[in-house]
């Protein structure tokens, strides 16, 4: 592993934000800016995926979609089993498991920046997988929570949280899902000439906007370190262990099942390893209100995200290269 590969703007901006928080700088972002940037980034990545999809092979795309569904439905179950093994209560375990089956677009984009900086080619299908993987884990989380509350206890206090139809609608109409799929659809159906008018905004400026977003996320991650004591060391350790398990699953799926090259395999590993901090927390807030948001936000944003950005991405790249025999 070559550590100098980490010297790319995206990672350094993240580190800068983390450092600024660590030295108690008075640097502040307007809170709405992070939300605005995440809308922009999700739309941009959706558009890019849609453009790629318009010249993709249908058979290969379907394989990637199936693999994404398997990872999205499977990883939360593994996470749930580990969390229960650590004696976490079932509702908190369900909520955290949903985060780890879903994906982080911020981590994925950092991985793309990492590959681009080294001129490593990658397949376009992982972008589609990113969009697909937003929702399944939310559904698994909802089912696990429903199961935890007991199937009989449906009429009482948790009436709304147990109404599956409504919860499934929430999972599929989630803002991130709409932006990713909406962007993808627009990228897919609009002719390349017509897309040229928005390319400067969504293409040329994209990595600059990502850097701003990562600066802010670095600060957010830094703020969560103080919460480690509250969530306990078992969960902090889980926040490092689970991306390794998810990353290994992604490496195997990317290499053996999908037959991707080094860049593509690494991206599938990143999808398996990352935990959501944009789409899933609000969904869990509504669907599993009993779970403690401090747990899942601290884990996905304060532990797993920095781990993946700093150590995980170069590690998955190294392992993907070893698998490919490069």
């Amino acid at each position: 592993m070559d550590v100098s590969n980490l010297l790319i703007p995206a990672v350094l901006f993240f580190a800068l934000g983390f450092l600024a928080q660590g030295i108690k700088s008075d640097l502040k972002f307007p809170p709405e800016l992070a939300k605005a940037l995440s809308i922009y980034l999700l739309l941009g990545i959706g558009l890019k995926g849609g453009i790629e999809l318009s010249h993709a092979q249908l058979g290969e795309a379907m394989q990637a979609v199936t693999a994404a569904l398997v990872l999205g439905f499977g990883l939360p179950l593994i996470a749930y089993a580990i969390l229960l093994g650590g004696r976490l209560d079932k509702l908190n375990a369900s909520a955290i498991a949903a985060h780890y089956g879903s994906v982080s677009a911020g981590t994925f984009l950092t991985a793309i920046a990492y590959l681009s900086a080294q001129n490593i080619e990658y397949e376009s299908y992982p972008v589609i997988m990113l969009a697909i993987m937003e929702s399944p884990a939310i559904i698994v989380g909802l089912l696990l929570a429903r199961f935890s509350r007991g199937w009989q206890d449906t009429g009482q206090e948790n009436a709304r949280e147990n109404r599956m139809g409504e919860l499934l609608r929430d999972a599929f109409t989630n803002g991130s899902v709409i932006l990713l799929f909406g962007g993808m659809l627009i990228g897919f159906i609009v002719k390349p000439d017509a897309l040229a008018t928005i390319t400067p905004f969504f293409g040329t400026l994209f990595m600059g906007a990502l850097s701003l977003f990562l600066l802010e996320m670095g600060m957010e991650a830094g703020k969560r370190i103080g919460e480690f004591r509250r969530v306990g060391w078992f969960l902090v350790a889980f926040g490092v262990l689970m991306p390794l398990i998810g990353g290994a699953a992604g490496l195997l799926v990317g290499h053996y099942w999908l037959g991707f090259g080094v860049g593509g395999v690494m991206l599938v590993a990143v999808l398996g390893a990352s935990a959501s901090y944009i789409a899933v927390p609000p969904a869990m807030r509504l669907a599993i209100p009993e779970a403690n948001p401090s747990y899942y936000l601290t884990l996905s944003l304060g532990v797993t995200f920095p781990f993946n950005v700093i150590l995980g991405i170069p590690l998955y790249h190294y392992l993907a290269a070893r698998l490919a025999g490069v």
Binding site: P31, A34, K35, E227, P293, L297, T298, L301
Partner: protein, 103 residues
């Protein structure tokens, strides 16, 4: 001399995802309006920095006649019983035009 009228001010600090449900409660009890402010802070749900949707709070404010207080608070209490992390407190307040708060 100005004429003041006593009313109750209901404050709810909750995650931004609950905004619609709180508005639903206000509307279900035929209140005449409400105000929502963005809020930051920390509490039993951990740090609420306002940067991400899952970690953004609101302060929901509703002025009602004392006769309506119990029924509105009972619905807010239902949210708490379901496990939602929220803080609610009621204060006495004075207004100049009571008819504005009674629909």
């Amino acid at each position: 001399m100005l004429q003041f009228h006593s009313m109750k001010l209901i404050n709810v600090i909750a995650n931004a995802t609950l905004e619609e449900r709180l508005i639903g409660i206000a509307e279900a009890h035929a209140t005449s309006g409400h105000t929502v402010l963005e809020a930051r802070g920390a509490g039993s749900a951990g740090l609420q920095t306002g940067s991400l949707e899952g970690g953004s709070n609101i302060l929901f404010m509703l002025i009602v006649a004392e006769s309506k207080l119990d029924e509105v608070m009972a619905d807010i209490q239902k949210l708490m019983r379901r496990g939602h992390h929220l803080a609610t407190f009621v204060s006495d307040t004075q207004v100049l035009r009571p008819e504005k708060f009674i629909s």
